[in-house]
Point group: C2
Chain length 484, copies 2
């Protein structure tokens, strides 16, 4: 299904308005922005640049062609003919009400008028409006172009039809609208954030922790959990065999303890316990605790390994542990060189129930990186503007591998000299049998010109002696790389 | 550096004690467990099974050989000669004090005795102990074998030497110990969790949201953010050009508003604002806001794409959007078939500043999946026990690709018939020039026997007509797959 063509009016072009503009534009909507700030165009274009570099690559499909971005001279010009109007002006009720009045004076009667308000209830925004039934809250999270959640909040005058249309359009823009049952100050998410914020302020004020310590405590623990399961499914999973009611009962005493400076607490009595347990059953009851544990662990592994690729937070910690685990010994070039000894992670499996072919090449690619480092092509060499690019990869799959299996790689030089380097890798199981073989043809390059070049020192010298030693070995049969 | 050999005594073998046991064992430590529960051995082994399937694959290096796990008949037997003793018994002060007394009666004087307590201060635990200076808090997060954070809390009698040893040993076990400056009930992380928990209980009690809605609101928004940056670095980044002080000032009024049922709030005055801003500068001031935005977006992309691979949460949403974006048309087998049209994501780049070779094969592998679906080898066919395995991949790299670049793939059958299928893919840039070519030799298999088999219906028939049409095209030159 091709995306329908829509026009959004963005009223207020700050970080949030700009994020909405980018989200809609990259999903093919036309966008008209109204903002009195003379810097609005520059600011929106900066948000849009961030969005263009990050959002389209999230998908395995190409997004529809980008919509047209225009800057309107007035609110009236912006909203004329728009089917979605997003208000993101400063968080002051009288400003929002006045802007909503201007919007309604010119907007199509059937358009959705949504406010990005963090705190106000939709009934407050619509109070005194010409057409209150057209105004609802669609509260997003920054960065709006990446994070999918939108809290959709109605008041009693908003028709089911408008709400349904809002949910549909947000879904079509790749977002996750969650309709809030009853309006409440700050909706749901910002209430939870506000609770953490208030407690964090006490901790800093009273010198129990710094901002960095609080941030680290969050992003190395429950932050990773909450990227995949929220509070309740996490606790259900942690509760283990005893079940949700038992687990909640364990929490009850802590509500009376000084575990927070925030002291207004509900009575966690039998009625509330049963209510939570029943809702949790409805939410997660289709999975056993054992299944939930494994789903959780699969997700945590995938998230932590994603951060590992970015060398950030919990992922940087994994890289540091790798560095501790790596035994650096003198290389014996007279035989094959061990370039990997690792375990297949959970996130490498595919629908055939085994390690996907992509990750055979990932193992080979990382083994090649290691081999190159041993040849002197390390981060210093690369920062100086030299590296190797692969021009050909040939992988022969001999056996399957599964999560938890050990894979060792032995690598060797088949031929080298000049700009070319022909490597051969054997991927071995724990019992020594061959899982796959790989040939790689590499070419030395200048990272400045992106063209082939001769190796420089120290690689040139190391390579010379390595090639002399490595090419003494008998060649594997059936080599193909570099041949036409 | 090889891991040193250590022995841990695990006193209390529930979910947390079992997690500690697994973390230490998989990092090469010997572990002795003491727990009066007759089910303790079974429970620990279940946690250990979860840990074995998930932890070792986090690393690119093999962990040291697993340590030895024994079940001790008594606390005295367990702690004898141990250098780390981890107490994880129920959260009641008199039980913990009594168990710590038993531990100290038999433990080596130099051992670290650490409590997993969520709530008690170390001075409370050590009150009346024979050797209070040996007792500290090391509070982990579930699952302990995966999540790295440990809050290390001392009381005044604990020596710097013991704290330093604790920090070193936890780091060596791949964890992230954060030393808490001053002891406080529930340390830091559980205070933040308790704040969210209290607010969430109100929301459920008063029927504003269900457990599932609260969980969704968390895991589609700030949960993803907090997996990589905590509260303060996130707000600093969101504050944009105006800076941290300005951003905090924006929050100040909300503390007086009814944004939470939790009403005990500090005064966010100039002094506290400056304190936070100064700490934030010390934490993140080495990055500009623009850099922080890009680091954040890189991380968010990597995390969301990791969840995509698991088809879970925010990642499942991306898959749903892919399905909406995919245009299903009748396949014209008379020419090459478009099997991908996508954008290179941020997390595919490597140290050479371009799309890593691994992801060329990832694109090819996904294009192949798509081609197979068009041939009838879809999820239904696979669930019935039939599939294709790749036996050979040959990739020729012709040009570089970068994040944000479009890649289109055109795929075709070179030869087929019987169990074999020889595919050819061309990876094309937006302007139509060739980035890479790939050959794949596939073999039809039974997923039950994991052996080659003949295609079944509907694949057999679709394949027959597809092969007849596709092999009319002129063959590409230089094909190599399947040749010895």
């Amino acid at each position: 299904m091709a995306a329908d063509k829509h026009t959004a009016a963005i009223i207020g072009g700050g970080v949030i308005g700009g994020g909405w503009a980018a989200r809609f534009l990259l999903n093919g909507w036309d966008v008209r922005v109204s903002d009195p700030d003379p810097e609005a165009e520059r600011k929106i274009n900066e948000v849009l640049a961030n969005a263009r570099r990050s959002l389209p690559g999230l998908y395995n499909q190409k997004l529809p062609p980008e919509g047209e971005l225009t800057f309107a001279a007035s609110i009236a010009d912006a909203v004329d003919g728009a089917d979605w109007i997003q208000e993101s002006v400063p968080e002051r009720l009288e400003i929002k009400q006045s802007v909503l009045g201007e919007i309604q004076a010119a907007a199509p009667a059937g358009a959705v008028i949504a406010s990005s308000t963090s705190g106000f209830k939709p009934s407050e925004l619509a109070d005194g409006a010409a057409n209150p039934g057209q105004i609802l809250v669609a509260h997003p999270y920054n960065p709006v172009y990446l994070l999918p959640l939108v809290e959709v909040v109605r008041h009693p005058d908003v028709s089911d039809d408008i709400v349904a249309r809002a949910m549909h359009l947000l879904t079509a823009a790749g977002m996750k609208p969650v309709q809030i049952k009853k309006e409440i100050d700050a909706h749901i998410g910002d209430r939870l954030l506000e609770a953490v914020w208030r407690e964090a302020l006490w901790l800093i004020k009273d010198d129990y922790a710094t901002t960095e310590e609080i941030d680290d405590i969050m992003r190395y623990s429950f932050g990773i959990r909450w990227a995949q399961m929220g509070l309740f499914e996490t606790y259900r999973t942690a509760g283990g065999e005893a079940g949700m009611e038992h687990f909640i009962a364990q929490f009850a005493p802590a509500l009376a303890w000084p575990w927070s400076r925030l002291t207004d607490v509900p009575d966690l009595d039998a009625a509330l316990t049963k209510k939570i347990a029943a809702q949790s059953d409805a939410q997660s009851g289709n999975h056993s605790i054992r299944e939930l544990e494994r789903l959780r662990d699969n997700n945590l592994v995938a998230i932590m390994r994603a951060l590992k690729g970015q060398d950030w937070g919990a992922g940087a910690l994994l890289n540091q542990h790798d560095a501790r685990l790596r035994t650096q010994e003198d290389v014996d070039w007279s035989g094959p060189v061990e370039t990997a000894n690792r375990v297949v992670p959970l996130d490498w499996l595919d629908y055939n129930g085994h390690m996907n072919e992509t990750h055979y090449l990932e193992v080979v690619s990382k083994a090649c990186d290691r081999f190159l480092i041993l040849l002197g092509c390390d981060s210093t060499y690369i920062e100086a503007g030299n590296s190797y690019f692969t021009v050909e990869n040939i992988i022969n799959h001999i056996d399957e591998a599964n999560a938890g299996d050990t894979i060792r790689v032995e690598s060797r030089i088949i031929e080298g000299g000049g700009k070319k380097l022909h490597l051969y890798h054997e991927l071995l199981a724990a019992d020594g049998h061959t899982l796959a073989t790989a040939e790689q043809m590499l070419i030395h390059v200048s990272l400045e010109t992106r063209r082939s070049s001769l190796p420089e020192e120290p690689v040139a010298s190391v390579l010379e002696s390595a090639i002399a030693a490595q090419t003494q070995m008998q060649r594997p049969e059936g080599l193909k790389a570099g041949k036409q």
